[in-house]
């Protein structure tokens, strides 16, 4: 079993002195689904954004797919990693001025220098897989939130990444739309994709996660398999959080 992401003692502080990451150590194996939970501001977003170089580190060692991304990494490493790591945001961040198809094929054509036709063919396959083939020629603003988020997933998948990162992919969606997106992610996990998912969807975590990691104030509080975590969390802090989540 190979290790996809290995982080050792990551530190990241913002100018105001906030320690968003305060010594985070973790490993994500290939093919594994890791769900990250924790209260707002606990550093979840910051953590997964370091995995593709969207945030620079102030300390610690980070190794993603064999490439080192620690404090001293250069421009080149980051670009190399980004082609192999897909990311999906809370705000779907589709490009509003491009059609759905163009959103998906932009990076394959410009970054991977793929032929337009083959890129589009692959895009249609992915849209099919996401169940929104008929939306290909529309623009993002014409789609519902759930559809947009599925396009965002397809866009990330178009580069054939080895790891997918999800930052609260359903939290900007209408309650009714959440299921569509989670279903797409479930399918992805079943296909063996390595995934790191920040989410508060308990049922998803329970069902899909291989491990659940709970963070607070930039630190890892506990990492357990979902069963243990949800029924019998080790730490008091985690239990309090879970309790609040279920009102």
């Amino acid at each position: 079993m190979t290790v996809a992401i290995r982080a050792t003692d990551l530190v990241k502080s913002y100018s105001q002195g906030v320690r968003a990451l305060d010594g985070v150590t973790l490993e994500v194996n290939s093919g594994e689904v890791l769900v990250v939970m924790g209260p707002s501001g606990s550093g979840k977003s910051t953590l997964i954004r370091t995995f593709n170089g969207l945030e620079t580190l102030d300390g610690g060692a980070l190794d993603v797919l064999g490439v080192s991304l620690d404090a001293t990494h250069g421009e080149r490493q980051v670009l190399a990693i980004r082609k192999r790591v897909g990311m999906v945001f809370q705000q779907f961040n589709l490009f509003p001025h491009l059609s759905i198809l163009d959103n998906i094929t932009l990076a394959p054509i410009k970054v991977q220098q793929r032929a337009k036709a083959s890129a589009e063919q692959r895009a249609m396959e992915l849209l099919d897989q996401m169940g929104i083939r008929e939306q290909a020629y529309k623009y993002p603003a014409q789609l519902s939130g759930g559809q947009q988020q599925r396009v965002a997933i397809a866009r990330a998948l178009a580069l054939d990444p080895e790891v997918m990162l999800f930052d609260e992919p359903t939290s900007a969606l209408d309650p009714e739309r959440v299921k569509e997106v989670l279903d797409a992610m479930r399918q992805l996990a079943k296909g063996g994709m390595t995934m790191v998912v920040v989410t508060h969807e308990l049922s998803f975590a329970r069902e899909v996660a291989d491990r659940v990691m709970f963070m607070d104030r930039g630190q890892v509080v506990e990492t357990s398999d979902p069963e243990t975590f949800f029924s019998n969390a080790r730490e008091e802090r985690s239990r309090r959080f879970l309790n609040q989540m279920q009102h």
Binding site: L54, F95, K110
Partner: protein, 296 residues
Amino acid sequence: MRQRRLLVQVGVAAVLIGLLALLVNNLAVNLIRTGLGLGFGWLGRPAGFALAETALPYAPSDSYLWALTIGWLNSLKVIAAGLVLATVLGVAAGAARSSNNRLLRSLAGGYVALIRQVPLLLQLLFWYFVAFLGLPSVPIGGLIRLSNQGIQLLGLNLSVEFCAVLVGLTVFTGASIAEIVRGGINAVPRGQWEAFRSLGLGEGLGLRRIVLPQALPAILPALTSQYLNLAKNSTLAIAVGYADLYAVSDTTITQTGRAIEGFLLLLLSFLLLNLLISGGMAAFNRAVLGRLNRSR
């Protein structure tokens, strides 16, 4: 409810019309009192003054109307050139302000901070009397020749007055455009930068393909008003002896004493110019937005 609305509107209209009538009445009384009268017959009379710069053939024996037309063309010339150059300078400076080169960035910042806080009129006087009239006569290569008599550029012969007004307007407007461009780029949500970065797209490509197209709708309206400002500010050319529309009007009014008629003509010319510029920009705007908003 409806009656009250109607009453308020009739009231407003009555006050406005009354005010206007009062002013017009005063004007009529004053015109009769001072014997100024109102008429446009003088437009056909010979102007009797020479103009230094004429886009079309003109002699002092031509009519005032023709002199004004020449002035209008001169205005148009400097405005058109100014629009292009100010846009280039502004976009360059705006981009420089978010450049990675620190010196370039602070220089662009300094340019904006300095230029925007000094009156344009003063800048024009400086460009003309100090910069351009202070030029020594230097040929640069065979194609460009600088002197305080004029600039020869690839066979094009430009007067120093024209150059001073052009440079003054360009530098002044460019600073405002730089701010607009920077603001437009900043207005594109951070998420868009992150999205293209996480797809492995480089900064330059992302700026061109993702950020600028989205910044454009925010930039265009403000850019239009800067263009209009440039056109209006071109009237300050009078301070440095460039024979633009306002300068010719000014001479005409002095010679004929036809202040009201002259002013009306000036007003109409500028309304026309405004329509031209904002009409052109609106068409461009539609073309751009049409591309961006096919979704809506």
